[in-house]
Amino acid sequence: MPVNTGDETVSKQENSNILELKGASKRFGAVQALWNVDFAVRTGEVMALVGDNGAGKSTLIKGVAGIYSLDAGEVFFEGEKVSINGPRDAAELGIEVVYQDLALADNLDVVANMFLGRERVRTPFRLDEASMERAANETLASLSVTSLRSVRQNVAGLSGGQRQAVAVAKAVMWNSRVVILDEPTAALGVAQTRQVLDLVRRLAEQGLGVVVISHNLHDIFEVADRITVLRLGQRVAEYKVAETTQQEIVRAITAGDLQTVPGLEVEV
């Protein structure tokens, strides 16, 4: 996995789309959830995905994660056309999703949660706890997560920010190239939001492509490099954070130009 080793690598990375969707469409019965959406994430960059409820953010993410199959559209990973037909395909490419509910088992400790379903074993069936604990420590340290008392404490005892950190660490452990975070700061207080935003920033600095879905424009302007705005299942605009304002984004979310009037789309 590329890590920021020098200026040259960085500038090269900044030009490469690690994950790209072209013309993605998805229909649920009478509802056109996505229509002809282009979307790209670059390495070392945080891409924010914003839009009102029902704009198609979740559908897009679930399409990338292999939970839904797209009706039309092409997916490119590192420039090569790929087909994602299930969560396993996505995981093999290195695409990991951190869902809003985090999917942690409260009764298990941090190590057990990070390795859930992919436990390391010494002999068949026999857990290799020492090696898993070490790897968990290393991953958390590489993300500068230092607020945990012990990786052997149960997740139930963690704060919201710590839980988010564990969920993110769980996602980046597996040679991940793209990490998608669904509303990572939704339930957090000020200090914990700060910690999570720093964490998101560090993921990008380590050369991953990061996608953040959020309703909180303040957070997005703090953490993202680019913003893709969805409205009624269509991509209305893409902005560089440095060249736009919150007002402009709000306008795009609520009244951005559509390619076509909903209900009158061409069949795809």
């Binding site: 996995m1 409260d106 009764n107 604990e133 958390l140 340290a141 005892g157």
Partner: protein, 410 residues
Amino acid sequence: MSGAATPAPPPPVTARPSNPFSVEAAKNYWQNIRSGDLGPLPIILGLILIALIFQSLNENFLTSRNLLNLVVQMAGITTIAIGVVFVLLLGEIDLSISYTSAVSAVLMTELLLDDFPWWAAIGIALIAAAGIGLVIGVIVTKFKVPSFVVTLAGFLGLNGVVLLLIGSGGTVVIQDDVVIGIANEFLADVWGWVIAVVGVGAYAISQILLHRRRKAAGVSHKAPLLIGLQVVGLAALAAITVSLFNDDRGFPVVGLIVLVLLIALTWVADRTTFGRHVYAVGGNEEAARRAGINTDMIKIKVFMLSSALAGAGGIILASRLRSVDTAAGGGSLLLLSIAAAVIGGTSLFGGRGRVIHAFYGALIIVGVENGMGLLGLSAGVRFVVTALVLLAAVVVDALSRRGRMISGRA
């Protein structure tokens, strides 16, 4: 490891042995207790209390003869309770275990009458029990019927099967010496000591290997002094137990069987991927499913395991009585088995509890029964007292859960 972790700064938790005698460790322990993480503390206090009460009321309670009787009495319930712990860890319930145990025992007895060798009779009976678990597991997972209802049907239906298998005779006597020996044979004195030495030695070696491995991996590990104290403590406990047994009839065969089952299945629950996945399904089924765990398969396997253990428990109970009759699996067997698991600290809501604690729970339940038997109390009094013990255990659990909620560890 992942590239994300390549430029790894030193891990936050380094190879620092945790010193169990430091002020910090004492504070942590107190903190855990205050926040409702009681561990086996209430059980141990309860056991001491029970021993004191019954010994003061009847001086025969703490004799080697009675303690040996206690071990034989509790063997069946302990075996069944181990299976109950697994089912409860999933957040499910199995009400049919008592009659599964009876079906297994009756089947074994009938096969012995048909001149099957003991090993074949026991093997077929255990497979039949596991088959009952398979059916329960498939119905619960594929048809999404709550396990309470499925196993309630099992409770009734299997009771019927017991009556049908036994027929009009009423009682069937077991005549196979090996089967009777399970609960009625005692090992020569020397074997008791062999078991103690092998057991303590194996524990010491496994702890030393674990310590080395964790130290080599650079993760937290126990202080050597603590390991030494634990080994010495276990050795003392083993020596006292064996000399008590040898004072009377010797180490009971059934005690050895239950000991092996307890250790093996505690290992399965704590140290294998299967055990880890059982806890995960009980803690957050959705998280387990998204992690790629086949949750249905885990549930089916657990129902099969618990039913097979119920079958083994039934065979132990039949061996002790040297016969089976139409009352097999009835009475308070079901409730005492579940009570043993719950008193042992297993949560009814899934995900919390340890297999080895089923032993403590059974010890309390059967200890109280045994003590009241010595005092010659009526069945009515015994039920009421047992109920109060169960209630006390559940209330302690609920209070500790509230403590965890308040301290954010729910």
